[in-house]
Symmetry: C2
Subunit: 344 residues, 2 copies
């Protein structure tokens, strides 16, 4: 089906656009009262992720309500460790928790390489969403970067420092590579299956990039992200975005891998990032999510300033992190509309 709005795909490929496209990380989520209603009905976050009909419904909500230029499938990066053999629970207000974690060579051997079909419920949600969208906007599929998934599998949950996961890198580098390799294979299978099911674009989230040193980042994260990009590009024609939160130190190297778009957070200067990354990539971001707490005029002024700093082409507007759940819906709409109405 031909897309009626393919702005975001054209921006990712570096083609001309009439205006800057926009979507928001966590746009399908608690910021929308409509989401909270579905969520209440379903019970928990995981039940929602695992129910294709409901996942489809909340995926489309921000397209209808906020008018964004892309949908992103409602899911979670931790479906991969679960498909590999490490189930998790999502604890209210506390985040993810794994009963079993990976500590030894035997633990790694016991994990399987996930196939796309292990995550049939996500693929089904993608198929339903594509149909329901009927070409209005592209659908983004996603996965966590291998390092971020690894960090959760060792740590067993969130952490300020991820010191257990980092300890594993220092004490068992060979085992770390073995596990990262298994995660990488699983993730590649999963992302290719998402494209086959209908995803028009992919994003890789490296949420815990920022706890590593630049050297460790290259060895334990970037090379695996790069392998995933190469594997996807060898098989299908689909734009890939890499968002490595807090990895200011890896911008130059990110500019050299086979992705199309690089996500920036609000601590990264736009002109400096462009100079480091070069002109062959699209940049995504990078507004501070807290701007959406500001008075309307401040939101408009800062958003226009951001648009001008990125320039007309090779930019996909977004926040520099997921929307915070206590943001007012009207403020999000103002951000989106300011971008959609702005002309260079």
């Amino acid at each position: 089906m031909k897309l009626q709005n393919d702005l975001i795909l054209r921006a990712a490929r570096g083609e001309e656009v009439e205006r800057t496209p926009v979507w928001l990380m966590r746009q399908a989520g608690r910021v929308l009262p409509e989401y909270r209603k579905v969520r209440e009905k379903m019970g928990g976050f995981k039940e929602l992720v695992e129910s294709p009909e409901f996942a489809c419904e909340v995926t489309i909500q921000p397209v209808d309500i906020l008018g964004v230029d892309a949908a992103i499938i409602f899911s979670d990066i931790l479906v991969i460790p679960e498909a590999m053999g490490l189930p998790y629970q999502m604890m209210e207000a506390k985040g993810p928790w794994f009963e079993k974690t990976v500590q030894t060579a035997a633990d790694i051997d016991a994990l399987r390489v996930a196939s796309g079909e292990d995550l049939h419920y996500v693929l089904e949600a993608i198929r339903l969403t594509k149909e329901a969208l009927s070409g209005r906007v592209p659908l983004i599929g996603f996965a966590g970067a291998p390092w971020t998934i690894f960090a959760y599998m060792i740590e067993g949950g969130g952490s300020k420092t991820f010191s257990k996961a980092k300890k594993f890198l220092y004490t068992h580098p060979d085992l770390a590579h073995k596990l990262l390799d298994k995660i990488t294979q699983s993730t590649l299978n999963y992302l290719l299956a998402q494209v086959k099911a209908g995803a028009d674009m992919l994003q890789i989230f490296d949420s815990w990039a920022g706890v590593l040193s630049p050297e460790q980042y290259k060895e334990f994260s970037l090379r695996y992200i790069s392998r995933i990009c190469d594997g996807i590009k060898a098989a299908v024609e689909v734009p890939i975005t890499v968002f490595a939160k807090d990895a200011f130190f890896a911008r130059k190297e990110l500019g050299l891998i086979h992705c199309d778009t690089i996500g920036l957070d609000w601590t990264m200067d736009i002109a400096e990032s462009r100079a480091l990354i070069g002109n062959m990539k699209t940049l995504q971001g990078n507004m501070d999510p807290c701007l959406l707490y500001a008075p309307d005029q401040v939101i408009v002024d800062e958003t226009v300033k951001m648009l001008k700093a990125f320039g007309k082409h090779r930019h996909i507007a977004n926040l520099g992190h997921g929307i915070y759940p206590d943001t007012e819906k009207e403020k999000v709409k103002l951000f989106v509309n300011t971008i959609k109405e702005f002309r260079f």
Copy 2:
């Protein structure tokens, strides 16, 4: 009393040193079994901070046990909000918690500007420690940067995003400046009193620098740190270190304020930081605290690599963050001894 080891002061002033001096953030703390023993006897962390005799005892422990080149007074950055009128509790494993927080203009008006004497127990601990050290090594005094203190006072505790504190900057910038001004005056009074009581060197910790955008950082943090540095330099001759965790984006600007030493964390490339900051400042840091989990040979190799990257002069060796409490004491000693034995 003449100092027998003034390496760290000479390094801060940019003078010649025979070898690189070393101390460790959180060296007086749970990494030492000797500390844990005193702590058990005392009950809680705050009781320890408020008891000059015990604070003195644990301050000196790492000088005796680890052989570091400086002591840092055992205290907490949150003594300042408490002295201004916002008491806090330290919750086991959870961190600080404030019953009252600052939300309105009236809340700010109700706070007092702290004087040095409000923190008499810290000053007494400094006097006792200076006496007990009898000139073996310099004693470092410290305080939180105004932005970091502000963040706790608004937020009421730790946070991953400090979104409440940042919201306040966007919604009440004038009130934010008013509160930051009061914190700045209190902190300047406090640091000058620490020097009068015997501190040989001062460090300002901006633990939550990294959640701000570069622009907000200049407006709401750096200018207040700069005012404190100016106020200290106008009154006394004492080297000042500024450690703005995660503020990679402010390195150039930090190089322009009236401090002597700038702390780096392990995500910041050493050569790049030197180029941004220039040759007129000493750099402190910047080993990943997780290196101390590694096998001995890796610790030695990485430590020597770090020393060489910083060069012989204008470097104070340290970690890029406080020691993690589950680090083995012997690993810390290996790090310290590797630095003390290395010659250029």
